[in-house]
Symmetry: C2
Subunit: 311 residues, 2 copies
């Protein structure tokens, strides 16, 4: 097979960057294939912390596979085409390593596809490295550990799989870090919201979901101090409204997640607030409400919104 690009989703988070970096390493080391990890966007601050900590350069950003002269791609941490590279339908997907639901994905030919309902795509890459008998170097293990910590909020999210704790332990050993200490440092690096404009803040980690004819934007930011974020509420609301108008979102739901206490404040604006309230069985006051114990968009917010919008 000719050269292959390996990448995570658009607007990459730490698991997207780490899993693609780790899988490309396996392609080269375990299977002798010509593979390069690239990214569909620049690293966020949390990811930049991890890359810097383990001395890894950020993967270069690409926008088209064909412009790179590449006809085979490997997707990590995503499968839906609208989250992938712009010309995804014009190239061959050779493999997918992911832990999300499957949708908007199809191929013309058989492929290698490995999806497991675990806490991170990085967990799967690590398991594959063990199966292949590859001992990961410190920096690869460190990045994969960072992907797992980031996606599971240090193993506290309900998306955490029972196998993930052992994966984290083994990766921390290979990376030579203390899991709890490094984990909190990493997560805190992603909570530096003060340096971000309101427009940037609502776009750090945001996905659009088509719900029963509506276009619902669900964004999430991590913090160690919800109150500090709410002090900027007026600015953030203005940015949410402007983004909805510009992009045709019917509703904009922002999760402000307290990574220390594992709760979220929901800030929501749009034309279906009755459905948002019904989804979480709460009343919005001044456009916001507290959601105890909620830290996972994938498990604790999107399914509830989906059900409520379809009711």
């Amino acid at each position: 097979m000719s050269k292959c690009l390996v990448f995570g989703h658009q607007n990459p988070d730490t698991d997207a960057i780490a899993s693609s970096y780790g899988w490309a390493y396996l392609e080269r080391t375990a299977w002798g294939r010509d593979a390069e990890a690239v990214a569909l966007g620049i690293p966020n601050e949390e990811t930049a912390f991890a890359l810097n900590y383990f001395g890894v350069e950020a993967p270069r950003v690409v926008e088209s596979a064909k412009a790179e002269g590449v006809f085979h791609v490997i997707l990590t941490d995503h499968n839906e085409f609208q989250q992938s590279i712009a010309d995804i339908r014009e190239v061959e997907v050779a493999a997918v390593i992911d832990h999300h639901r499957v949708a908007n994905f199809e191929t013309a030919n058989p492929l290698y596809m490995r999806l497991e309902p675990v806490g991170s795509a990085s967990s799967i890459v690590y398991r594959a490295s063990k199966e292949a008998g590859v001992t990961l170097p410190r920096e690869v293990a460190g990045l994969l550990l960072s992907g797992l910590i980031s996606d599971t909020l240090l193993l506290k999210s309900p998306t955490t799989h029972e196998s993930d704790a052992q994966v984290a332990k083994e990766l921390a050993e290979l990376a030579g870090v203390n899991l709890e200490e490094y984990g909190l440092e990493l997560l805190k690096a992603g909570t530096n919201l003060a340096s971000k404009s309101a427009e940037e803040l609502i776009d750090i980690d945001a996905k659009t979901f088509p719900l029963n004819g509506n276009s619902v934007r669900v964004a999430q930011v991590n913090t160690v101090d919800i109150a500090e974020v709410l002090e900027r509420k007026a600015d953030i609301e203005a940015a949410m409204t402007a983004s909805s108008v510009a992009n045709g979102y019917s509703d904009f739901v922002l999760m402000i997640t307290d990574i220390l206490n594992s709760n979220s404040e929901i800030l929501a604006l749009g034309s279906n607030m009755d459905k948002v309230e019904a989804a979480f069985n709460f009343k919005l006051k001044n456009n916001h409400a507290f959601l105890a114990g909620a830290v996972s968009r994938k498990k604790q917010v999107v399914p509830q919104l989906t059900e409520s919008f379809n009711a």
Copy 2:
């Protein structure tokens, strides 16, 4: 998880039956889950030979998962919903074990999905059993071997993966059979076409493909004597025409595959014979033509038809 049904595609072939039987065995034995292998149709003669040889009862036929009180299903040897159980969209797909392209498939939640571009779904089930440290009993190994032999025409089809020869060797040892001898016996059991009406013959292994607005039926039968099948040409053509009228197929393409010499005769009828001829760069005479070296619908017929119909 509550009880789970494991099944292959509609109109099951040996790999569909074998892979579902083997995977259900792994679910129970390796992971202690409540899983039952069932089927979406009765076994064909080749599969019946394998079941009988290894003393396994045919899986019972089911038509609805919900009617069985089941809400979780595992698909083997297929993923496209139109090839699956009738109420597939109303139940949760917990896992997929397959070696086909991905299309018409989506889930609401993360799942276990293991696709490899290898010769049979049975090959993947065997690899998973080794990873899980399970030594397969003779009858399970024998069925998986049968699935692999059937799908690869005894490792001769271009769909055969470089890893499949070793898989076949190990399964033959576990099953206590001679690979070549058992393989030919199995394949010949599927070539008993004399007992079948023309209507049955064209439906033994048939799939419909939507090609550029046309509905193209591509069927395949295995034989050790192409001439013998062509003696029934008039009857078979009448059955193909009647089936096209009844089901709205624009074209009906039948591969008559010589399993001993690895060639096929193509018998084709319909409104796009120019496209069929262009696909294989041959001229049909009396509706048929020889296709040297062609044994795989998946690799040597459907992609060529797809390209020609889209040209």
